[in-house]
Amino acid sequence: MNKFKETMFKSITYVASLFTILALFGIIFSLFSEGIPILKIINFKDFLGSTAWHPTSNPPDFGILALIIGSLVVTVGALVISIPLGLGSAIYISEIAGQRTKEIIKPIIELLAGIPSVVYGLFGMAFLSPFLIKVFGIPTGLNALSASIILGIMVVPIISSMSEDALSTVPKSLREASLALGANRWETIMRVVLPAARSGVLGSIILGFGRAIGETMVVIMVAGGAAQIPSSLFEPVRPMTAAIASEMGETAFGSPHFHALFGIAVVLFFITFITNLITEFVFRKKRNQT
């Protein structure tokens, strides 16, 4: 009976893990089988290199460069905001704050990660965007800057909590040695603790990048949706995820537009796949070191 239970449990867990892998391959397969046909309509160079995205004009244009740039602009903008904030709070929590403060601040920052993205989007649409119009006197408040700010706030808890974990695993002896050699606290943090935790910090940033570039709801609601290469942060952009999600619903099945949207998904898949590979690589290196 016991042996039967054992095998039963084994096979259940085996099937569960097999199912995950099957689902992954199923998704990859359908992505490629629906995405590749767009290359019959437009060549590879024009698809990735042209900025003209007029999928419903006659004749249509399917250049996605402006969408790729849109994604990168808001993602880099988000990192510019979230790296100092996230890393700063990680350093404070791990190195400077006392036990009590730490126990209060840490869960509060992690609470940010639990807010649904549509709530962030509403906040951006109803509050941040009119605010930016008033403060900067710009013609529109739904633009790359407001999307970057909102995405940046969303990424802070990822960078903060993962970097904090990395910082706190740095052995105490390193800090004590540094202080004993006459370095002050600031020098110890910047020259000893941070470099020792760099792979964990880097990993958190890459993960934050993946989160920001894949985020959909916020950019649909806040980025403005103009398929153009922006000349400043105050101009609206249309990230790849926004284009896919908002155009797929009413696109005729099997049409060139349909395949083009899957083509964008393939590009997005490659970008996140590569960032995941890099994260994996960074962490493996770290594991081998210790």
């Binding site: 999928p55 949706g225 103009a226 609206p236 696109t251």
Partner: protein
């Protein structure tokens, strides 16, 4: 032991689910899906219809016009809702499947042009509208307004409203390069309400006191001007069924195009299809 209990629980749950789905598959259930623009009408009409016919159960889902039409062709639903006519691609699919679809117009929608409350402009010609939305006119002072850059807000390229706009206003000239695209009627209304230079288009039912409605060629959109086609920016909403729809589905469509159904259409902010 725990595993055994869990297994029993899971299989019991599955059995219940199967039973429920078997029940809902009975012939007095109508399944409809499709256009989100038509959704408020179908939802309200379904509630009224179920009140009148207690034995009938109507499932209303969104998904977009394409989903609606595709599912109607596959006969996986009874009624596919769409805010546009079927396209060439879809006719090909119908031929391939040797199916046939019946089209019924159930309501009309007037696409309303709105601007910020402080904008002095009250009327635009169709030609001016085209030049604004394609980017030829860049500043409000060119149409005797104030000196402000025009912020053009479109609905998303694949929404039904965009397709009508493309045909009637843009006449297939390309949209202004830096024009904004927003995902819903409400998003457009909100953005226009706090963006001084903005112009956008929304369904008649979404116009509110925070934004200013413009007349086009001196005609304001209303149920009257939309019906007699004086107002140019209108479109029809459709229901698609197979050639031989099941009885309850057919009854439901008859109900929507009846006087009572058309009153529901008006109550939802849309326009009757006739008188």
């Amino acid at each position: 032991m725990i595993i055994k209990k869990m297994l029993i629980l899971i299989s019991a749950g599955l059995a219940v689910l199967l039973l429920i789905s078997a029940c809902t598959q009975k012939s007095n259930t109508i399944n409809t899906a499709g256009s989100t623009t038509a959704l408020p009408i179908v939802q309200a009409a379904a509630e009224a219809f179920m009140d009148k016919n207690p034995g009938i159960n109507i499932s209303v889902r969104g998904g977009g016009s394409s989903i609606g039409i595709k599912s109607a062709i596959n006969q996986s639903i009874d009624i596919g809702n769409a805010s546009r006519k079927i396209t060439k691609n879809e006719t090909d699919l119908i031929d391939e499947k040797q199916a046939n679809l019946i089209e019924t117009a159930i309501a009309k929608d007037a696409i309303s042009i709105v601007v910020h409350k402080d904008n002095p402009v009250t009327n635009l010609t169709l030609q001016q509208l085209k030049e604004i939305f394609s980017g030829k006119i860049q500043n409000w002072k060119e149409v005797s307004g104030f000196d402000k850059e025009i912020i053009v807000i479109f609905r998303d390229v694949s929404s039904g409203s965009f397709m009508v706009f493309n045909e009637v206003v843009l006449d297939n000239s390309k949209v202004k390069e830096n024009s904004m695209r927003l995902a819903s009627n409400n998003a457009v209304a909100t953005a226009v309400s706090y963006t001084p230079g903005a112009i956008g288009y929304i369904g008649l039912g979404y116009v509110n006191e925070n934004i200013k409605l413009l007349s086009i060629d001196a005609v304001f959109p209303s149920s009257k001007t939309a019906q007699n086609d004086q107002y140019k920016l209108t479109r029809l909403l459709y229901m698609y069924t197979s050639e031989t729809p099941r009885k309850p589905a057919q009854d439901f469509i008859y109900f929507i195009i009846s006087d009572e159904g058309q009153e529901i259409v008006e109550a939802q902010g849309y326009v009757r299809i006739m008188q």
